[in-house]
Symmetry: D2
Amino acid sequence: MDNSIKTSKKFPIPKTMKAWVLGNPNEIKLSQKDVLLPSKSEVLIRIDAVAICATDLDVISHGPPAMIKGGSPFNKNFTPGHEYMGTIVALGPSVDEFEIGDRVTVEIHAGCGQCKRCRMGMYTSCHNYGLNYGNKDKGHRANGFTSDGGFKQYAINHVNTLIKVPDDMTDEEATLVVTAGTTMYGLTELGGLVSGESVVVIGPGPIGLLGVAIAKSLGASPVILVGTRNNRLEIGKKLGADFVLNVNEENNIINSVKSLVGEIGVDYVIECAGTEQALNEAILMCNRGAKICLAAFPHKKIKVNIPHLVINNIYMYGIRGEGKSATHRAMAFMKEKRFDAKLIHTHTFKLNDLPKALKYARERIDGSIKIVIKPWE
Amino acid sequence: MDNSIKTSKKFPIPKTMKAWVLGNPNEIKLSQKDVLLPSKSEVLIRIDAVAICATDLDVISHGPPAMIKGGSPFNKNFTPGHEYMGTIVALGPSVDEFEIGDRVTVEIHAGCGQCKRCRMGMYTSCHNYGLNYGNKDKGHRANGFTSDGGFKQYAINHVNTLIKVPDDMTDEEATLVVTAGTTMYGLTELGGLVSGESVVVIGPGPIGLLGVAIAKSLGASPVILVGTRNNRLEIGKKLGADFVLNVNEENNIINSVKSLVGEIGVDYVIECAGTEQALNEAILMCNRGAKICLAAFPHKKIKVNIPHLVINNIYMYGIRGEGKSATHRAMAFMKEKRFDAKLIHTHTFKLNDLPKALKYARERIDGSIKIVIKPWE
Amino acid sequence: MDNSIKTSKKFPIPKTMKAWVLGNPNEIKLSQKDVLLPSKSEVLIRIDAVAICATDLDVISHGPPAMIKGGSPFNKNFTPGHEYMGTIVALGPSVDEFEIGDRVTVEIHAGCGQCKRCRMGMYTSCHNYGLNYGNKDKGHRANGFTSDGGFKQYAINHVNTLIKVPDDMTDEEATLVVTAGTTMYGLTELGGLVSGESVVVIGPGPIGLLGVAIAKSLGASPVILVGTRNNRLEIGKKLGADFVLNVNEENNIINSVKSLVGEIGVDYVIECAGTEQALNEAILMCNRGAKICLAAFPHKKIKVNIPHLVINNIYMYGIRGEGKSATHRAMAFMKEKRFDAKLIHTHTFKLNDLPKALKYARERIDGSIKIVIKPWE
Amino acid sequence: MDNSIKTSKKFPIPKTMKAWVLGNPNEIKLSQKDVLLPSKSEVLIRIDAVAICATDLDVISHGPPAMIKGGSPFNKNFTPGHEYMGTIVALGPSVDEFEIGDRVTVEIHAGCGQCKRCRMGMYTSCHNYGLNYGNKDKGHRANGFTSDGGFKQYAINHVNTLIKVPDDMTDEEATLVVTAGTTMYGLTELGGLVSGESVVVIGPGPIGLLGVAIAKSLGASPVILVGTRNNRLEIGKKLGADFVLNVNEENNIINSVKSLVGEIGVDYVIECAGTEQALNEAILMCNRGAKICLAAFPHKKIKVNIPHLVINNIYMYGIRGEGKSATHRAMAFMKEKRFDAKLIHTHTFKLNDLPKALKYARERIDGSIKIVIKPWE
């Protein structure tokens, strides 16, 4: 076996890089880290853009979930950030699917490849999730969660996590592919065949808005977006929503949905709000045999209308991440310009300004939806 | 088209029959009804045995759900009862799948055959559910729920609801096929391939006990039954449970399950208890990517651990009835004597004694599990 | 039950209509037929447009297949034609899904709704196929094949066969929905998730050309069309083919495909040529685990490379018609103008000119692809 | 990461071992090979039993297929044999799913884990099949085909290929699990839900006989075995066939099958004969919408009734190996003693007698079906 790593003079690799690390809760510090080299089936990526996800804010406040189990997750030199893209600058041994210079965007999860879930393509539900600390490395990686993330200048990724970026797609748009991949995974698990089916998306955050776009691309009709802020609902229309409903302006959101899809109710709901009210409304607007994708969740137990769910044979799917190669399917539509994901990109910051960018994201300053960091500007 | 109805001298059909009808809430009255003749694609069945289901008790207390929508469901000459079997005594026009004299057991639901769910085989989620009152008959029937049921001597059934009973199966056992069909439908919808997978069944009522038997027949391993009554858990063992756990005797049922299936958790849970505690325990004993079949439900909203469900990519299926021809698959195993469903049959009563039988069922007198009525004894 | 039929003064229904009937082989005669009224779950359609399919030519030469079994299919007053659309002018009892005046296009098959295939949504594989002659009417209809077809002015259709036509879609385009539905059904059966997957379509007839459009709409990439006539390949490009290959201009079509999709081979092939050469080329251009949709077929046994198929774990699907509600999914894309199906519509004739139209279709006169008859012009 | 390999004094590992190697075509030579140590995610197995498969005879005559592409496959020190089981004697780094001393049987294929097929669980269709020669090791292994096989005393296997053997299962029976896994994989790919469905198995070789057993275990009914040798048909009955048909004793095998399952035809055929006649009979005995599993294949192109296949919407699956963890599902039934796989084990030989054993297998001497080699006796 050839164990050599391939690099190129065109992309010289520095010894160290800028990297933000998690200090105490809600504290991030700009630091220096060594640039490591890729192992078998891995590549080294120069990060050209990284988007901020609401989950990053959670990780910075509470620590990465898997690390919490192993004691305090703070002050461990951990770099958050998981929605990144960049340019391949080194190939580990055996990699020939990609070349140096390829632009790629990443899926978060590299599964262990050995557990029953990975063997089904459900690598975001890897049974060795987080088991990459200490001396039992099962190969699972969720960069930004269980392994070092993307608020830095270089990252190592397994080839399984890479999606090629076409030349005419900007760095900023490429960071959004994994967001679109989440609802694509959800709709895959719900059955995948939504053309001509009615779909309600609740919650016009980034996942909900691109959920509208993905559902529409797959042929869903009508696609109805439910939210509270009219500016976001307007973006939803541009991304493919046939109808938008502002819950604050409707007497009864369930009746409003039924007036659009028929008294029998809707076929699919993609629930991206994560509240007790939203989930129960989702259940009540469903028709018999309908399916609900839970792409968001509350932080504690909530009261759920289980009787209505069972009596009406409704299925509910807790969707975590973007498995079953769904991100590749999302890219297939974005490559064809079926929708303009850039509509949800509102702000760009330099790497040094990450704290300010996080503040914009947390407080939704200036109507921010998706904020992108450019580590090399 | 030949519109003639076939009958046989061997099975003379009387003009009238004994039939129990629902009076006021919790009141049933023995009455007489006309024996009707079958239309196209229907047969007339002489009911030889009918089992009592917990849902029958609900119907007798609250009225059949679909009728409730149309005003008071009481004193409408409605006959409850849905788990029946018998002998075909008349064939409606076009029926040649069956012959007079055939012993058959029935599925509850005949779908309309026209809505999107029926066209997918999900006829228990028919979008014309209950639409057989008044002048818009869409063809849906759920005998004992939306149309006349089986606590009487004859019934008319659509051929789609019939399953042939082998000669060596008793009438009493044949009434249990639809109960077994419910978990078969559930496991079908959860993916169907459970051989070698771990399955926990919570709640050793009739559906849970036959759920153990069906899971084991399909090759699930281990099958773990969780309940509170040791006599029922013992029956569960005979029906195929590899392990039984009495929640009252375990410190922590989740840990007890994990000690049997591994720390990662179980692959499938069939939840037949319908309580807040049971559902949340089901969620916590699941592994990442696991699936929960909800075959029972509480009567009001309950607090549910949605965060754990979503973070662990767990899917939850509200299962209503026995669609996708699952009852035929259940019968395939029962015909082969893979398990002895008769173990859950505890009592037999005559038709005239239905009130007493219902009391036994409601109060679980004398350890009753499944009670069967024999209309001709 | 209300058995009344609804009609409207706006659409008066004549007693008789013009209808072409099959005489001797290859002979059709213009005749008069009674206009019948719809039964339960049926509607009467005024046929506004009917397209000619290659299968119609077969039926006119050899007789409708199901009738052949019952003796000579000729001179039986049978009207061929199955790709029609029109306006609903009468509603049978119980129909409320549609209104008089609705424009609809039709699926060919109404299944019996009782056999195991119909209960799975596979109504084009109905086990009572053709059993609507004589006194055993099981309800199956395939208008133009087993029951009276559409080369006439009115037709009766079961509601299950109807798809609403949007106002801005022309009659001519609406006749093409069922053609698009065939490949949609094929891709549904092959798994349905083709976004980002490579697809080769062999044979740019109407099914192949709309197969390109459907595959592209579902996100397939690249879509490669293989044929022999450059004018049709050019239409394929407009319908979404990323690449077109003229087999007469390529040294080795398998190598040409591999140069576009990679040495490993293609993910899906939709085979619409129906020749021995095309099928074996399809097999050889597949990658391991690929799938082939057979949407055409030769008239006799052919030599097939079964060893290559098995060794490479290739699956091959004989696709007949347009089951599993696929036509609705095709319409969902056509309604959204994802592709311009009208590109394959080349000629229009009056009903009286049907013989000439058939000649154009058979001899491909004047570059004809899809020829439409307008019964009321 | 801990890179240490675990061994145990209880299972001392010699430096070298006996190993048969392929010389010229049809020539095998007893040789010595080094005993290698396992890498990450691998174990070292002491081979306790290895069965002879018909494919081994092909490999010994023609060379392993993947090697053929790289030049002559002969005299390369290659050891054939792939149906082995044994005892784990060393654990590679990171392995904690197994312990030293565990008895395991093996799947043949370890996929690369990176290609699109592996990511779907279809690792027997790995797109990096055979790419483990030279300096581009993608991780794919098919021991006995693309990497060193089991006609020796020790083997290295990836953990993904291992299935634990219960204590009460003999070594000989454990070698048969992978054979049962082949039809389990086939039935998985055909849909998996065969309870109550009719299944014909053609060809009572080892795969066909265990195919009968697997189909019956899954609840298929009736299961019909078709063959030419009555002694094997008798074994088929013991393994679960409801009916056996000797093609030499039937006038028309298609009619004979239909007399058992009904005129409409059979739901599933598992074709294990690999002849032109058998495949075409399989097609003709199918009902509309039926499915055929091709578990055997001829060595050249054959004439196939494609028209009948397409017109009747029949699907045909080329099945190679035992993917989607099907072997685990097969073991689940064997562990429960649902059938006695040992019935097909007819002869046992010592490792030194491999040439004689191969002769028995090739010439079917003494009614041999499955021959097992015991490397340590």
